[in-house]
């Protein structure tokens, strides 16, 4: 309930300000939801500890990549024609012609273009599988995937990921509701509290420097990596991942 309310309240602001990318979010959501469905069905086939170890290593590498990227120039693989969101082929100024490139161009924002869609889709699928298998939020995979692989600005990536989590969380919430596992006396005060936090945070988020957002995200990645590493080694660490 808290995740859904946070997602809905902040996504309303992010979409109004064109910070969250609805088209990209829906596209990746399709594969994340499919990954979560398949992950839930094959969970019994895989070792939880091996997966946690692999995930910890992947998160560590991602955190390192984000720290390195902070000091490097953004790649110029696909630029956007300002105000159009249309991808152009670098060095030519012309729009690419194939169907996949046409779809890719439609996913871009006003001042950025989306690239490497197949890789992004693959990672969104992995995020869904890992969410179902390890009980971690897919944001730790989806945000770096959108930012590092697909060339989406970090603020847009976090806002779009925030938009996406509401849908997957609602699927679980419907089940808990039907199974009688939601206590309204606990959920009520929690929903009111997270709503207040989400409304305030989403309205001031654009004033937080991008470097601070990146640093906070790296901290979350490192924390989750340590938690997953501890799970892989069967060490006692409390709580679930981000």
């Amino acid at each position: 309930m808290a995740v859904i309310t946070t997602s809905s309240a902040s996504a309303a602001v992010y979409l109004e300000r064109r910070l969250a990318n609805l088209r990209l979010g829906l596209t990746l959501e399709l594969f994340t939801a499919t990954g979560a469905l398949i992950g839930g069905l094959v969970a019994f086939l895989l070792s939880d500890r091996v997966l946690a170890g692999l995930f910890a290593a992947m998160l560590g590498y991602t955190a390192w990549s984000m720290v390195r990227r902070a000091g490097a120039r953004q790649p110029a693989a696909a630029a956007a024609a300002p105000g159009t969101g249309t991808a152009v082929v670098p060095g030519t100024g012309t729009a690419p012609a194939s169907a996949i490139h046409g779809y890719l161009a439609s996913l871009g924002g006003a001042d950025y273009a989306v690239r490497r869609l197949p890789a992004g889709i693959g990672l969104a699928f992995v995020a869904g599988v890992l969410s179902a298998l390890l009980g971690v939020g897919g944001g730790v995979v989806k945000v770096p995937a959108m930012n590092l692989v697909m060339g989406v600005p970090l603020r847009v990536a976090t806002a779009t990921s925030n938009l996406m989590i509401g849908v997957t969380a609602s699927a679980s919430a419907i089940l808990y509701l039907l199974r009688g596992q939601v206590d309204p006396y606990v959920a009520g005060p929690v929903v009111v509290g997270v709503f207040a936090g989400a409304v305030v945070t989403s309205r001031v988020a654009h004033r937080v420097p991008a470097g601070v957002v990146r640093t906070l995200f790296v901290v979350v990645l490192c924390y989750t990596a340590v938690e997953m590493g501890a799970r892989a080694l069967a060490l006692p660490v409390g709580g679930q991942g981000a």
């Binding site: 309310t5 979409l15 609805l22 006396y185 929903v191």
Partner: protein
């Protein structure tokens, strides 16, 4: 049409803003009613979800009615915004993006059905 030229994100934003405000207003009213009635969260289990009693509970001003209706709206909002996105893109003539939204809806429906069958 690129994302920046589409009116659908604004339509979805309005749905989420109005829906979340309605949901939180009802939940807040239910929380106040719960506290005024002397109920203590965590130590005392809340009332079960009974759809047939929702209207009567709300009309009687009971906490359970406001809380469950508010929480129900919150749970339904993400699926509703996928549906609104689908309709919005269809109206703009973007059948490809509408199909993607419909696909998300279908996967969610299958996930819920599978979970209910295998619980």
């Amino acid at each position: 049409m690129p994302e920046s030229g589409s009116a659908t994100p604004r339509l979805v934003a309005r749905l989420l803003a109005v829906g979340t405000a309605a949901s939180v207003a009802l939940v807040a009213a239910g929380t106040v009613a719960m506290l005024l009635a002397g109920h203590v969260p965590v130590t005392e289990p809340g009332p079960a979800f009974r759809p047939s009693r929702l209207a009567a509970d709300v009309l009687a001003g009971r906490a359970a009615g406001f809380l469950w209706v508010g929480l129900g709206i919150a749970v339904a909002l993400p699926s509703a915004r996928v549906a609104v996105a689908c309709i919005g893109y269809l109206r703009e003539g973007d059948r490809r993006q509408a199909a993607v939204a419909l696909g998300v809806f279908a996967v969610l429906a299958v996930s819920t059905a599978v979970a209910l069958v295998t619980r």
